[in-house]
C-alpha cells in the first residue's frame, strides 16, 4: 500500500524457483528497509480471517499467496 496510490505490486515470483525466490527476498528486505511493515493475511483453524505480521522472509509461510506491505503505525492526533 502506498499513500496516495493504494495497492502497488512490488514483486511477483515462485519461491520454489531459486532465482525468483532470491528476487522476492531482496524485494522483501527493500520494503522493510524503507520502514514498512509486512503482513500475511490468513485463515485460522476456526475459520476466522486475520493477519500475521512478519519481520523476516523465513516467517512467511511457503504457501502464502502474498505479503502486504504498509506504512508503520504511529500515534495519531494528540
Amino acid at each position: 500500500m502506498r499513500p496516495g496510490h493504494g495497492e502497488v505490486v512490488v514483486a511477483e515470483g515462485d519461491v520454489e524457483v531459486p532465482h525468483e525466490e532470491r528476487e522476492l527476498i531482496e524485494a522483501f528486505r527493500r520494503q522493510l528497509d524503507e520502514g514498512l511493515w509486512a503482513a500475511v493475511p490468513k485463515t485460522t483453524n476456526n475459520g476466522r480471517r486475520e493477519a500475521s505480521m512478519v519481520k523476516s522472509f523465513d516467517e512467511i509461510p511457503r504457501h502464502a499467496e502474498r505479503v502486504i506491505f504498509f506504512p508503520r503505525a504511529a500515534g495519531g492526533a494528540r
Binding site: 500500500m1 502506498r2 499513500p3 496516495g4 496510490h5 493504494g6 495497492e7 524503507e34 520502514g35 511493515w37 503482513a39 493475511p41 475459520g47 476466522r48 480471517r49 486475520e50 493477519a51 500475521s52 505480521m53 502486504i68 504498509f70 506504512p71 508503520r72 503505525a73 504511529a74 500515534g75 495519531g76 492526533a77 494528540r78
Partner: protein, 200 residues
C-alpha cells in the same frame, strides 16, 4: 518631409508597442508558469487517481477479510474486530481513531489514535486510501494487537469520534447482525430475506 516620416514612424512604433508589449508580457508569464508547474511535478495531475486507488483498496480489503466483515464494511462503513482478550472489541473507521468498546453493554472504553504516515515523504505526503487505512488497522490489530495499541495515542471516548455516533453505529451494527442472521436462516429454509430477496 523626412521629419514628417520620422514623426510618423515614432507614432506607429509607440502604438505598436502599446498593443504588443502586454501580449509579449502575457506570453512570457504563461511560459514561466508552465515551467514552474513542470518543476514542481504538478503537470499531469490526475483527478481520478484517488478514486481508482480507493477502488483498488476496496478490492484488496475484500480479498483479506471474511464475507461477514466485508458486508459489514460495505453496508455500515466500519469494521468490528474482536479483541484478543475476553469481552471487548474495536470499531475501525477510515482515518479516525479505533474505538474500543464492550459489546455486551455497548460501553465505550477508549479511543486509540493511530496513523500510517508515509515516512519517505513526511511533510505534506498523501494519505492511504480510506479502505487501505481500514485494512492496515485490521492487519495490525489482528496481527499484533498489543503492538498497535502501544503505538497509538490513547484517549477517553469522545476526543475525536462523537460518542453518540459510535452508540448509533453500535445500534446499527446490532440491527445489521439481526437482519444478517435472519437472512442466513432464510437462506437455509429457502425463504426471501429481510429485503425481499429470494433465498438461495
Amino acid at each position: 518631409m523626412l521629419l514628417a516620416l520620422c514623426a510618423t514612424g515614432i507614432v506607429v512604433g509607440a502604438l505598436l508597442a502599446e498593443v504588443l508589449i502586454p501580449r509579449i508580457d502575457d506570453l512570457l508569464e504563461r511560459r514561466r508558469a508552465r515551467r514552474a508547474r513542470g518543476e514542481s511535478g504538478l503537470v499531469g495531475y490526475d483527478p481520478g487517481r484517488e478514486r481508482r486507488a480507493e477502488q483498488r483498496a476496496l478490492q484488496l480489503l475484500r480479498s483479506c477479510v471474511n464475507d461477514e466483515e466485508w458486508s459489514m464494511y460495505r453496508d455500515l462503513g466500519f469494521l468490528r474486530v474482536w479483541g484478543r482478550g475476553d469481552g471487548y472489541a474495536y470499531l475501525i473507521y477510515p482515518h479516525k481513531p479505533i474505538v474500543a468498546f464492550v459489546p455486551q453493554t455497548r460501553e465505550l472504553l477508549n479511543e486509540y489514535c493511530v496513523e500510517f504516515p508515509d515516512l519517505s515523504r513526511p511533510y505534506g505526503s498523501a494519505r492511504l486510501p480510506d479502505s487501505d487505512d481500514v485494512l492496515a488497522k485490521w492487519m495490525a490489530l489482528t496481527g499484533d494487537e498489543h503492538g498497535l495499541i502501544r503505538r497509538a495515542n490513547m484517549h477517553q471516548p469522545g476526543r475525536q469520534v462523537d460518542p453518540r455516533q459510535v452508540r448509533r453505529d453500535l445500534w446499527r451494527l446490532s440491527q445489521w447482525e439481526r437482519d444478517s442472521r435472519r437472512t442466513w436462516a432464510g437462506d437455509l429454509r429457502g425463504e426471501p430475506d429481510a429485503r425481499g430477496r429470494p433465498g438461495r
